[in-house]
């Protein structure tokens, strides 16, 4: 009898203590936000706000809720993309549900959203954070958002972040043809192993690291299309504020200079500067080269008065295309040397152009010379770190490129 009572007690105690019912939550009670768009709230110009802005149908019934007013509390406009579970199992044609809400901060807006959403907003599975240009221009708003994301224990440091020229909402409204789940599609764009270096890495953890260091970084740019989204180019940040945009080729140059570029392609024109009689009837041949390896190193030239940095880039490549004729022979070492030289010149020109832009136009060091100096020349860095923002535009930067063409494909 005693044994039975003991057994019963054990079962009751185990059941009541081990179920953790306080934190139990069913999977279908949560709204999993795949991507989040952050914009600065701008009231529609010329239209009434507040309850007067609510649209009515012909019979006088409200068909939309009231348009948010412009008050000091309405600072942000958040766009939540929640994938439709029924679409995933093939029972519905609507892939995403978009919720747009305005308010003072991310937390309270997510909470207030539950007044019109029958689920708990859960950001733990967020893949991409899209920040609108208006927020990127306002350092205070940007820092608030980044802190909220870093502080949240459920948001991973592996999520991707991108800046949208215009509004973030316009990006998230696009339903890409190949995968209409916008958030997942963008996350896969970032994760693609074959991705060209025409946009930065854009991983939240790395961006936060950069911001914590000196407040400067580059963040990928995301551009909306009709039925696709493009991640290309980047936004340059100085002191948590956007300074301007870098185009796709410039972004690649910055990525090479930062040492974070995935190898990509480069095309040169062979024979452009040859004498007309040697051209065999054509002006030049386009030679695309697949760069399979990239490395970059900084060197400080100590002897000079002004800080002078040499950036040494080493690449290896494969020739992808030449010209269908019998006159050229790629097995000839001289020819390979010539193409190698062309790649070096081409790459160096691009890099120098971008450095010039960073130094003169944006005046911000996002290529990591500050990092290099602070690690390898800490004494010099102690002297210059306070005024680095002013010193960087004046330093001398030289680029040296070394290219080796390793393979040429199957034909000569």
């Amino acid at each position: 009898m005693n044994k039975k009572i003991a057994l019963l007690l054990t079962i009751i105690i185990t059941i009541s203590t081990l179920t953790a019912c306080w934190d139990a939550i069913e999977i279908d009670e949560r709204a999993y936000v795949m991507s989040l768009g952050v914009d600065k709230y701008e009231p529609p110009s010329g239209e009434p706000t507040g309850e007067a802005g609510a649209r009515e149908d012909e019979e006088g019934n409200n068909i939309t809720a009231d348009v948010p007013e412009e008050t000091s509390r309405n600072r942000f406009s958040f766009t939540y993309v929640v994938p439709n579970v029924e679409f995933l199992v093939g029972e519905s044609d609507i892939p995403n549900t978009l919720y747009n809400s305005v308010g003072e901060n991310l937390y309270s807006v997510s909470r207030i959203l539950t007044t019109r959403l029958n689920k708990q907003v859960f950001l733990g599975h967020m893949k991409v954070l899209v920040i609108g240009e208006s927020v990127a221009r306002d350092p205070q708003l940007l820092r608030e958002i980044l802190d909220a994301v870093e502080r949240d224990q459920f948001i991973s440091r592996k999520i991707n972040i991108a800046i949208a020229p215009g509004s973030a909402k316009s990006i998230l409204e696009v339903e890409p043809l190949i995968n209409p789940l916008t958030g997942q599609f963008m996350a896969e764009l970032f994760k693609n192993k074959d991705r060209s270096p025409r946009s930065g890495g854009g991983m939240m953890g790395e961006i936060l690291e950069d911001f914590h260091r000196w407040g400067n970084t580059v963040i990928p740019r995301v551009i909306p299309g009709v039925a696709d989204i493009k991640v290309a180019g980047s936004a340059v940040f100085k002191n948590y504020q956007i300074q301007g945009w870098l185009g796709e080729a410039e972004t690649r140059a910055v990525e090479i200079l930062r040492g974070t570029a995935r190898p990509g392609g480069l095309s040169v024109r062979y024979g452009e500067d040859q004498q007309p009689q040697e051209r065999h009837g054509h002006d030049y041949h386009i030679v695309p080269v697949d760069l399979i390896y990239l490395s970059r190193k900084f060197y400080l030239n100590e002897s000079e008065d002004n800080i002078s940095i040499t950036i040494e880039i080493k690449t290896e490549g494969e020739i992808e295309q030449f010209y269908l004729d019998t006159k050229h022979d790629l097995l000839e070492p001289d020819m390979i040397r010539e193409i190698e030289d062309k790649i070096c010149t081409e790459l160096r020109d691009q890099l120098e152009e971008t450095i010039e832009k960073l130094q003169k136009e944006f005046e911000v060091d996002v290529i990591g010379i500050d990092y290099y100096l602070s690690r390898f020349h800490p004494k010099l860095w102690e002297e210059v770190k306070e005024e680095w923002g002013e010193i960087f535009p004046t330093i001398d930067i030289a680029v040296e490129v070394d290219t080796k063409i390793r393979r040429i494909g199957l034909t000569r």
């Binding site: 306080w22 934190d23 991973s156 440091r157 690291e209 260091r213 690690r375 390898f376 800490p378």
Partner: protein, 369 residues
């Protein structure tokens, strides 16, 4: 071997000491090191580790000199009985307080990452009841548990480090040798406190089957923990960088969040780290609890410690619930270890050592005459 004769082997002792040291300290160790010595934190760590090895050897030597004697008896033999009562009370308070505060940090981490709505008291009761249950049969069971957990835990930890290796940018560890020597000395107390836990040697030493080898055991345990700490520091500082580490409350957990296991089916490695860490923290709470339990038994001249195990639980629960917030918890922990740590680990053992040396010299003196 299967008898419960309250004896543990040297290997079990090493396991207990290692697992006892690895607890809440590792979570914020990299941040503390960066705050104290920036990228030169590892120098503080190594220097502090060597000093701690010295003290653990001292503790071992004291126990070795009185094989089979309890700490209360050792103090009364060397420093008279009133001092022994004081020392035992001091130790008891220390073990109770540290058990409670470690439990509280455990609760804060757990509430942040996994159980936001579960009441604090329930989590505390959960882990403390498990600790009481383990301690009921005394040191022998604890030793076996430590051996059982120790090796698998080590394997998992090294696998996690291997996974984090690809994320490390070794440039983040530079520059080195830039911090003035005085700053490094100033950082030593922090490192000293992150090694706290090896003082259980003093209490558990009486249960050793071969107390002669104890001095070495302490040194081995501390060196293993020192190596683990160095690895953690390289891994965390290398993958997050100096400035980022300073911003994170628990940089260790954040580091493992960024790891991507190639081809793994788990999205978040943080979950594995969390569960591994819960084992480690349990093996900190249980020995500390048992040590406190033994101290009060010796203080009251009891014969069996297990009767006093459960009555201590409300005290620990009360202290653990005392701090208002995570900020307070770390504040109290700092203050508490400041007042107790030095006395327990450094001052009392040094006085005991002095007494041993003087008594031996006197003995020699009298025999010589």
């Amino acid at each position: 071997m299967f008898l419960n004769n309250d004896k543990i082997s040297i290997s079990q002792m090493i396991h207990i000491v290692i697992l006892n040291m690895v607890g809440v300290g590792i979570l914020n160790l990299p941040r503390g090191l960066v705050e104290e010595g920036r990228t030169d934190g590892w120098m503080i760590l190594v220097l502090g580790g060597l000093i701690v090895i010295g003290f653990s050897t001292l503790h071992g030597y004291i126990i070795k000199s009185f094989p089979g004697r309890s700490y209360f008896e050792i103090v009364s033999l060397t420093l008279t009985k009133p001092v022994a009562y004081f020392a035992a009370t001091y130790f008891f308070a220390y073990f109770m307080g540290i058990t409670a505060l470690v439990t509280r940090v455990f609760v804060e981490v757990l509430k942040t990452y996994t159980l936001p709505h579960t009441p604090k008291g329930v989590i505390i009761l959960g882990i403390l009841l498990a600790a009481v249950y383990l301690n009921r049969k005394g040191i022998e069971v604890l030793g076996r548990m430590a051996e059982l957990i120790g090796v698998p835990l080590g394997v998992v930890i090294f696998a996690l480090f291997a996974a984090s290796w690809t994320e490390i940018k070794f440039d983040n560890l530079l520059p080195i040798f830039q911090t003035p020597f005085m700053d490094i000395l100033r950082g030593l107390p922090f490192v000293f406190f992150s090694f706290l836990g090896f003082e259980v040697i003093l209490v558990f030493g009486m249960f050793l089957s071969q107390p002669k080898k104890l001095a070495k055991a302490g040194a081995v345990a501390v060196s293993i923990v020192l190596m683990l700490y160095i690895l953690i520091n390289i891994s965390v500082l290398g993958s997050l960088g100096e400035q980022q580490v300073q911003q994170l409350i628990w940089p260790l957990l954040s580091t493992f969040e960024t790891i991507e296991l190639p081809g793994a089916f788990i999205e978040n490695v943080g979950v594995i780290v969390m569960s591994v860490w819960i084992f480690a923290i349990f093996m900190t709470i249980a020995p500390m609890y048992l040590a406190g339990n033994h101290m009060i038994t010796q203080l009251l001249h009891g014969k069996e410690h297990s009767y006093l195990g459960l009555p201590l639980l409300p005290i620990i629960l009360f202290i653990a619930l005392w701090p208002d917030s995570v900020t307070d918890t770390y504040e109290y922990m700092g203050t508490f270890t400041d007042y107790t740590g030095y006395g327990i680990v450094i001052i009392l053992p040094l006085i005991i050592l002095a007494s041993i040396v003087i008594k031996e010299r006197n003995k020699k003196g009298t025999s010589g005459i």
